[in-house]
Each structure stands twice: as C-alpha cells, then as structure tokens.
C-alpha cells in the first residue's frame, strides 16, 4: 500500500493497471483524456502489459473492447459526455450480450452549448442500457470501485458490464491522497476472468441471431433484470471483502452518513456527496438539525430497498439531481419517489435541480437549501413545491 497524490483520472488508470487489463481502447475527450494518455504511456513503457487500440471514435472504442472481452480477456475503456452518447447503441448491445466489461465515465455536460463541466445527464441517459452504474465521491473510491467492478461484473451471478463514474474536473482533475493497494492484494481480490462464453476458432457458437420464439427473447431481457437484482448482493460482498483486505469499506449500493437518528435526509450521488457531508456536519453541529445523507453509490441496480429502509420514517427528503429529464424531473428524484411510494413510504420528498452545466454548489449552499426545506416541512408538513431549480451562490 502506497499513499500517493492522484487525480481521479489517474486513480482510474492505476486501477486498470492493477486489474491486469489486457485490452484498452479509448478515444480522447475532455475531461477523460488524461486517462487515455496515462494508459497509452503505461502500455508504451511496458508498465501495463496490454494491447492499446487507438480507435477513431467512441463507438469503435466500445466495439473494440467488446470484441476483446468476447475473445476472453479483461478489457477497459473510458469516455465522457458526447463520447458516451456516441457509443449509445453499443452500450445496449454489450449489455444484451451479457459481456462483462468495465468503463469509466467522467460525467460532463451535453451540448449545445459545448460545455466541459460536470453534469449527470450523460450517464443518466444510459440508465436503461443494462449496465451497472456506480458513482464515486473521491479518487480513493474511484480506484477502489473500478477494481471492484471487475470482480462484480465477472461474477457468474451478474455477467453484466459496469460503469464507474467520476465527475468532471472536481474529481477527474483534482489531485488528492490515495492509498494504492499492492498488486498482490489486488490479485487476491480479483479472481481470473470468468465470462458466460468465449469466441474461439473451431467452436461454432453464434451470438445474436434472430429468435424463433419471441417469448424466449423476452426472457433474455428478464434474465438481465434478474442479474441486476442478484448484483445487489454481489456488490455488498465485494465491499465486504475489499474492506477485509484493505480496511476500506465504502458501502454497498448506498452509504449513509449520520443517518441513525436523522429525521431529514439529503439524497445525492457523485462528487458533491463530499460537500453534503460537510453540510450535514454543519447542520447538526451548528443548528442541531438531525440531518443525514444517503449517498447513492449505485444507480443501477437502483437501491430501492436501502432507500426504503433509511427513509421509512423520514420527516423530509431532499433529492439533489445534477441532471433533468425535460418534461419530467431529475432521474434520481423520480426513482427515489417511485421506490418509496411502491413500499408505502410517505415522507415528503423534494427535488432540487442543481449543479447542472457544472454550476458550482458549496456546502453552504446545500446547508441553506436544507435549512429552508426543514423549516418548510416543519411548518406545513409538506413541501410547497416539488421541484426547484437552484443556482446556489451569492
């Protein structure tokens, strides 16, 4: 174990190296680029024993790693924003093939206008594709979760691809101390690759031709949903094991901060959950408000059970979304409310749309939102407005 200052992007590259990935194919896009560059350098210097395919687009990046994975090796790619959108079709295909594969997505705004700052629209727009999706809070979690994803996606109970996200700049380019696990420890944690089938010369299996029986095809889809369900357990297990090996547990599908006695909850995901922790401390320590934070670590599979468990008796819930589905609300909000309602949990829930297009949100902003929300709910027992746009700052 070595403590080193790493950006989120270098944390990803380091994890890829430690996972002994064999094929990397990536296409540059700000702010993912330093991942590509680092990996290219590692391959060139022999630090990483892998093939690097310098593809001509993200579509081909995903296609190439898919081909490699289908051929039986661990494969990795990374992208962001428009690059992620450009490989949309491939994402569905890879998941439908049940091919384990790991990708890092640096979340970034979608244009127009061109904008390189963080925003979760890119990744949220892929939530139906059948990939596991995890959000990380800092470089350490980025590194750890990237490694875990290899284990999780290659677990025979899952066999689905997975995405680790890190927010543009505030994570991808921000340097901070990271514990880098030893290779031997990683080797102990990551078993040799398993996958549902491998393409080899002489073994005529055929993947993907049209179905005779449409019901069978529908069952193929249902099976993906079942794998997502099972992944919940697998994710917990990976966290347990990693915790045992390194002493670091980040949580399973969610991580709850000061929730035990909390009455009011923040729900959020990604980089700003760090700021939310600061806000929680501030609200508790300065105002004596019983506020807790539910950090959604995995958006897919969606942590309905966790949310229900924690929010069962919440007096109020504020869901911060860093993206919005025009004509509806923030995706995290929609699914949180839907999960709670399905189980009869009736806490008032409010959606704060903030931080889109990279707009900065400080702990003080979050505290202010919570102070106002708590006041409102304590007065009215409900929120006046379900959804608000919040720009923060002065």
């Amino acid at each position: 174990m070595v403590l080193k200052t790493l950006t989120g992007n270098y944390a990803v590259a380091t994890a890829v190296k430690l996972a002994r990935v064999k094929v990397v194919a990536t296409y540059p896009i700000t702010p993912q680029t330093t991942i590509v560059e680092k990996l290219a350098e590692m391959v060139e210097t022999g630090e990483l024993d892998a093939e690097m395919i310098r593809v001509e687009s993200e579509y081909s990046a995903m296609a190439a790693v898919y081909g490699a994975a289908s051929g039986g090796v661990r494969a990795f790619t990374a992208t962001s924003s428009h690059g992620l959108l450009y490989m949309h079709e491939m994402l569905w295909w890879v998941a439908g093939s049940r091919m384990p594969l790991v990708m890092a997505v640096v979340t970034r705004s979608i244009g127009p206008p061109w904008n390189i700052w963080t925003d979760h629209s890119d990744i949220m727009g892929q939530r139906d594709a059948g990939w596991l999706i995890t959000f990380s809070e800092n470089s350490q979690e980025t590194l750890d979760e990237t490694l875990k994803l290899f284990r999780i996606t290659e677990d025979e109970r899952v066999y689905l691809p997975g995405i680790v996200t890190l927010d543009a700049f505030i994570m991808s380019h921000t340097s901070e101390p990271v514990d880098i696990p030893d290779q031997s420890l990683v080797d102990a944690f990551l078993p040799p690759r398993k996958q549902p089938y491998v393409f080899k010369a002489g073994d005529p299996i055929v993947m993907g031709n049209m179905p005779r029986d449409l019901k069978w095809n529908m069952m193929v889809r249902e099976d993906m949903c079942r794998a997502m369900e099972r992944a919940k357990r697998v994710i917990e297990e990976a966290d347990e094991l990693w915790g045992k090996l390194t002493g670091r547990k980040h949580g399973g599908l969610t991580d709850c901060y000061r929730c035990e006695d909390a009455k009011h909850f923040i729900v959020g995901m990604g980089a700003w959950t760090g700021d939310m922790r600061d806000a929680v401390d501030h609200l508790r320590d300065r105002f004596g408000l019983k506020v807790g934070l539910i950090k959604v670590r995995y958006f897919r599979p969606f942590p309905s059970e966790d949310l229900i468990k924690w929010l069962n008796n919440a007096m109020s819930v504020v869901v911060f979304d860093r993206s919005v589905s025009p004509g509806a609300e923030g995706p995290l909000y929609i699914e949180t409310v839907s999960s709670l309602a399905s189980s009869g949990v009736r806490s008032p829930v409010k959606n704060v749309l903030a931080g889109l297009a990279g707009v900065d949100l400080a702990p003080a902003d979050i505290s202010n939102v919570m102070l106002a929300s708590v006041e409102e709910v304590e007065e009215l027992g409900a929120f006046k407005q379900r959804v608000t746009w919040f720009y923060g700052g002065e």
Binding site: Y59, Y66, G67, A68, S70, M210
Partner: protein, 296 residues
Amino acid sequence: MPISIKDLPKEKYVLPGDTACPGCPENMGLRFVGMALGGKVILVIPAGCTSIIQGLAPGSGLNFPILNVPFASSDAVAAGLSAAKKILGEDAVVVAWAGDGGTADIGFATLSGSAERNDNIIHICVDNEAYMNTGIQRSSQTPLGAWTTTTVGGKKERKKDLPLIMLMHRIPYVATASVAYPIDFIEKLRKASTIRGFKYIHLHSPCPVGWRFDPMYTVTVAKLAVETGMWILFESEDSKVSISPSSRPYLDKSKRKPVKEYLSMQGRFRNVTDEVLKEIERQVDENWSTLLKLAA
C-alpha cells in the same frame, strides 16, 4: 501452386436448410470462406442479409463461430477480438464479413480507422450493391442507373470505388473477388490469412432478389460483370497492384463483352437510357485506366 476444385475441403460451413434466398450469393461466398479458411475463422457480422441467413435462434444455419454485431461496428469488434486472440496466443483468423452498406456507408469510418491502425483482421465486403436485408435500398455501392426502392428512377450517382479507396489506405493487402470465381477468391483469402495487418477483400455478389434476375443466374451475372469489365479482379500486396488472371483478358478493351449484355440481364437496369449507358461505359474505361495507372 494453383488450387484445384478437387482439393477443396468438403466440410460444410453453410448448412443445408438455412434462411438464404434461393441462389443467394452471400451463401456462396460464405461457403468459399469455409473452403478457404475452415475452422480457423471467427466471423464478426454486422446487420445485413447474413444476419438473416443464419436463421432463427437457438439454431444457426452457419457453422462458424459468429459474433453478430451492430451495423457500424464490425471492424472495431474484430480488431478487439483479434487483439484478445493475440494476447492469449490463440490461432484464429478474425474476419469481418459485412455487406456493402455495412462496409462502405454506415460502417466506413470504422473500416477506415481499422485500416489506418493496421489491425490484424480480414475485412470482406460482400457487395450486392444495395441494402438487401431491408428490401433493396440504394447504397453507395449501387451503380449508376440502377433501380432500387429509394432510386425508383435509377440511381443518379456513381458507384463509390471502394477497392481503390482502400488501396489509397496503403494497407498490406487489397483484393477484389467475385462469387463467379471461387478459386481466385479462395486463393486470395488464403494469402490474406498469412499476412499480418489489415486485409481488405471486396467480393462482388450479384443478388437475384435485388437485381431482378432469375436465381439460376447468380454465377452467370457475376461472370458477365467481369467479362464486360464492369468488375475488375485485382490484388495489391504492399501497394503493388496486379490484375488477376481472370480479368487480364479484359485489359484489351476489344475483348470485353458489351456492357449492355450485363445490364439487360437485370431488371434493375430496365429503365437505363442510352445516355446513362454511355456514361456507364465511359466509367468502365475510366476505372480501368485509373487502375492501370496505379498498377504501372
């Protein structure tokens, strides 16, 4: 040493009872791939007639390992697969088998990118000069004057010259082939499989359904394309171009059959005017002359 029909392997890679139309040139081409490379091959196949030819899951009418992939992705998938096999030290010839649409249109950036990187794969463009699987729409490979459902008055533009475009990519191997000349195709395939890097083979594949001729004449029409000089068989190793034996006689323009003979066998050219016919003839000459310049 030339291959003789007698020595070709008998194993069936296209199984009786698959879903190809009667007289299908893609089925023929797949059989030749089997004869040439047999069990060494892994096919990566984007959307197109060959997706259908395989028949319905859980069965397959094709006896190869086949990874079906999205329309624009085949060469990149093949590149990844080939890289994996290299790392694993496994022997395999990874072949992207794509229609003219999957090759020259939607998938062209993917193809060109893979060629530039010199990925170790063979790309075979099975060219039936239209989007057949969706019901005969024009592609960039549809020739001037040909009817399709999206060019009901005949296509206005010229067939994009993909073999020459690939030649300009300066990849280790480029060749044209035709389903009417299986031995030539098989020889080219075998040669390609011994070369490291990106290999491109463009297989002319007359389709009875889309070109509107009796399925009996798939081979006849394919042969006429060569005999009229409409389709030139050549190969290029390391950018050294040579006209293949079957096309060599037609270096001499007077040996070529009239283009009209080729067109008149096909319903799709029914409404070609004299003017368009002349232009097609001019293009044939131009194609020969460009190719010969490059072969010089």
